[in-house]
Amino acid sequence: MERIPILRMGRLLLVTIQVDMHDKLAMTLQDDLTMRIVQDNAKGVLIDISALDIVDSFIGRMIGNTAAMARILDAQTVVVGMQPAVAITLVELGLRLDGVRTALNVERGMALFENVLLK
C-alpha cells in the first residue's frame, strides 16, 4: 500500500507530500505521524506540501487536524511550501488554518524551528 514517508532529522520529523492526496492516504498519514511523534519523542513536525497543487476541504481540514494532534503530543507543526493557488483555495473554502505555523519553504521552516520554536 502507498504510504507517505516520514523522515527523522534530529528532533524534527519531515513529511514531504509528493503524491496526490486522497482521503485514505491522509488518514494513514495521521496514524503514522502520531505514532512516530510518540516513538521518536519528536518536538517538531515539518509538512512540505510544495508538490501539492490541488486541495479540497477534506485535505485542508486534515492538515489542520494533524497540526492539532501534534500539538497535543507536544510537537510544533510548520506547514511549508504552499502554492499560491492552494493558499487562495483554502482561504476561499474558509479554512484559514489558524493554529498552524507556516513558512515559504523547507529552509525557512527549519530556520523557524531553530530560531523560535525549539529555543
Binding site: 504552499m82 519553504n105 521552516g109
Partner: protein, 288 residues
Amino acid sequence: MSGSDQSTLSQIINKFGPELLQEWLNSLLTYAMKREASAERELERQCEVFLRGLQAAAADGQSQDIESRQWEDVRQLLMEISQLRARHGFSPIDTANFVFSLKQPLFSKLRMHLADQPLVLAEETWTVSTLLDKLGLFTIECYQKSREQIILRQQQELLELSTPVVQLWKNVLALPLIGTLDSARTQVVMENLLQKIVETGASIAIIDITGVPTVDTLVAQHLLKTVAAARLMGADCIISGIRPQIAQTIVHLGVNLEDVVTKATLADAFVIALQRTGSTISYSTASH
C-alpha cells in the same frame, strides 16, 4: 431597371439627390454647436455615402427589414459612424440625429413629388418614417455597444494598472492599494501578492490602504482573506495607511482586525518590518 419599378424613396433620392443632401447637411449643422471645416467635409462625405447606400438598398422597395442582406452596406456605414461618434464623445442625441434629421428634408420632397396623390403620399410617408426610425434605433444601438466596449476596456486597464506589488527591502514587500476593492480585484491582488512572495521569498508584506476610499464589511473581508492567504504561504501581513475615518468605520461595523498588525502610516509599518527581518537603519551623524 426602369424608373417605374423603383420605390418612391429611391426615385426621390435619384431626382432630388444634391438638393436633399444640402438641406440635410444644413439641418445637421444647426444641431452641431461649432465644427471645424475638416469635420464638416467628413460629415458631408458620410451623408453622401449614406444617401447612396439608402437609395441602393431601397431600390426595389421590397424589403423594409433592415436586418436583411440588402441593407448590409447601410448597416455597416451606420455602425462605423456610431463607433466613430462614440469614441469622439458625441452625445446619443447627436448620434441619432444623423439619421432622424433626414426626415424633414425627405418628407418635404415627398410632398412635392406626390402632391397630386394624397393617399399614396400618406402611405409613403409612413413607410419612409418607419424605415428611418429603424435605422435611427440601429444607430443608437451601435453607439451604445461601442460605449460599453470602451467602458469594459477601461475597466480591464484599471484592473491591471492598479495592483502593483513592490519590493521595499530584502524580504519586505509593499502592496499599495488604490481604489475600491471588489471580489474580482481582490482575486488579482491576492494572486499578484502570492506570486511575488514566491519569487522574492519575502516574509513580510505591507498592505497600504491609503488609496482605498471606503472600507465596508466586504472590503474588510477581502483584506482579511488576502492576509490569511499570505500567512498560509509563510508571510506576515501588516495593514497600513488606515485613515481616522476608516478606523472609526471599522470599529462601528464590528470588523475584527485584532489578529492583524495595523499601523497608521506606511513608515511605521516599514519600521516594524525592518525589526522583524533583523535590519536596522541608522542616520549618519554627519547629516545632523
